[in-house]
Amino acid sequence: MGFFSVLGDCFQILKHTFRQVFKRPFTYFYPFEDRIYPERTRGRHIHVRENCTACAQCVRICPVVAIRMDKEDKMYEKDCALYFDYTRCIFCGLCVQACRFEALFHTPVVDLSEGDRDDLIYGPDKIETLDRDPLKWRGRRFR
């Protein structure tokens, strides 16, 4: 290990460093921009109420008891209202696999943070749609 080989190592490291300077950044200016999530991303759920048969398979399989069901609340013939508790959910995907009526899906929406714990319990009004109020910061709109 002579002086020159150490110098060689130093140059090799510097070469890598300089190469990175001219590359596009690997980071995103979150939350104004975000990466593209794959199709299978296990984010928050969406409940398609037309297809639901109130079979309760999703409630039974959930390992952390994150889903509550209200059978009284009917919009169609046999459906039910689902309440998802995102303080408990571990995004395991079992409920989506258990549903055989194409009524429950994951969506690639993963930014769920809220200021209040109670807002993380998604009732029928929130779980059946992906729309939400846009958040603004200094006049710029994000998500």
Partner: protein, 378 residues
């Protein structure tokens, strides 16, 4: 050791607040700069996984196991699934076997990439810590594309796997493997040729095979002594596809101290493990058969299991990972589950291994054994 040496000694708690001590605490007794006593304390990370398994049914069980070690989630959940399959006598489709093997090796690569960066960070070589973590992102992209989650993958299920390989997954997989294979050679040169790294790791934490086996070590810490002890060859699982590939058990033999391994050998061993994993994946990708990914009858059969007990094990990244499962007649949940993580052995090995070395070398010895707290506290 005469008691008067200990008069001037000092006790230091290494952890649980230390940054690289993610959830463990080791009491070290120092005389000057030398450690004379080491007292590993497990229990700061306890999540009562074995008890939790008694309340989860057999499709929920793998979720608990993969949380034991998220770095090797595909490997960690497998023993439980295999034990359930043994009791329920399920047939696994060929395609699922190959897919499982590929993803388990990918998981091994991911775990090694993470450990490699972390070990370098612990030694203070932060540049070398970040480079493998770039490659790790590519591995995570494969997991995310395949299962929808980056760490808690939830891939295996009794009777097969849950998610099928798509064209996009294959593209990502090939990209991750090709990139890592290319960079592995360069990194190996850079890492093992670095004089600073050599000075820091050579002849540190030296033990021989006999000691290692006495402590119950398995996996890379033993293979680094030159012993080809590997479950993939010694006890091939019929539900995995290791018989379809041609590979040698990676071992490291250092002519300077045959039959022994130091921290440097263990680093070299991890490189060899990664190379073997890459070659296994490359051989398996063209051999993926067509067909089902899960046995259609498995869902019904795995709901209620007959009475029985089964033991299943797999060669994990850190050593032998196994689960023993006992079920009752028509049981919906396990009557008793026992998890054996590989790291409990390597953590308690510190008790005999560390005394006599310098304080600054403690983290080198600890890191080189690649312990993960999730495995010893469960």
């Amino acid at each position: 050791m005469s008691p008067d040496i200990l008069d001037g000694s000092m006790d230091i708690w290494f952890g649980p607040q230390h940054v690289s001590a993610h959830g463990w605490a080791t009491k070290l007794t120092l005389v000057g700069d030398y450690i004379v006593e080491c007292d590993p304390n497990a229990g700061y990370f306890h999540r009562s996984a074995e008890k939790v398994l008694e309340f989860k049914n057999f499709r929920q069980g793998p979720l608990v196991l993969e949380r034991m070690c998220m770095l090797e989630a595909f490997l960690a959940e497998y023993p439980y699934v295999a034990a359930v399959e043994k009791i329920a006598e399920l047939e696994i489709p060929e395609r699922a076997k190959v897919m499982r093997t590929i993803m388990m090796e990918m998981s091994r690569i991911h775990s090694i990439q993470f450990w490699w960066g972390q070990f370098n960070a612990e030694l203070g070589f932060f540049t070398m810590a970040l480079w493998p973590w770039v490659d790790r992102e590519y591995s995570l992209d494969v997991f995310e594309e395949l299962t929808g989650s980056r760490h808690t993958v939830s891939f295996s299920t009794p009777g097969g796997v849950k998610y099928d390989f798509t064209e996009k997954v294959m593209t990502q997989l090939n990209r991750a493997i090709d990139r890592f294979e290319d960079r592995l050679v360069k990194f190996k040169d850079m890492q093992l040729g670095s004089p600073t790294f050599r000075a820091r790791t050579e002849n540190i934490g030296l033990y021989d095979v006999k000691q290692g086996l006495k402590w119950g070590l398995s996996g890379p810490p033993i293979k680094a002594c030159g012993v080809p002890m590997d479950l993939r060859k010694d006890d091939p699982d019929p539900n995995l596809a290791y018989d379809m590939v041609d590979f040698d058990v990676p071992i490291t033999e250092n002519p300077e101290h045959p039959g022994q391994s130091d921290a440097f050998d263990r680093m070299e061993q991890r490189f060899a493990e990664a190379e073997t994993a890459v070659s296994i994946i490359k051989q398996l990708i063209p051999q993926i058969p067509e067909g089902d990914i899960v046995d259609p009858k498995a869902r019904g059969k795995a709901n209620r299991l007959p009475e029985g007990e089964a033991y299943a094990r797999v060669e994990g990244t850190r050593g032998i990972t196994s689960v023993w499962l006992k079920t009752e007649e028509k049981g919906q949940t396990a009557y008793r589950a026992k998890i054996r993580g590989p790291c409990i052995a390597s953590y308690y090995a510190l008790k005999d291994l560390v005394p006599g070395s310098k304080f600054a070398d403690f983290i080198v010895i600890f890191g080189s054994l690649d312990p993960y707290p999730g495995w010893w506290d469960r």
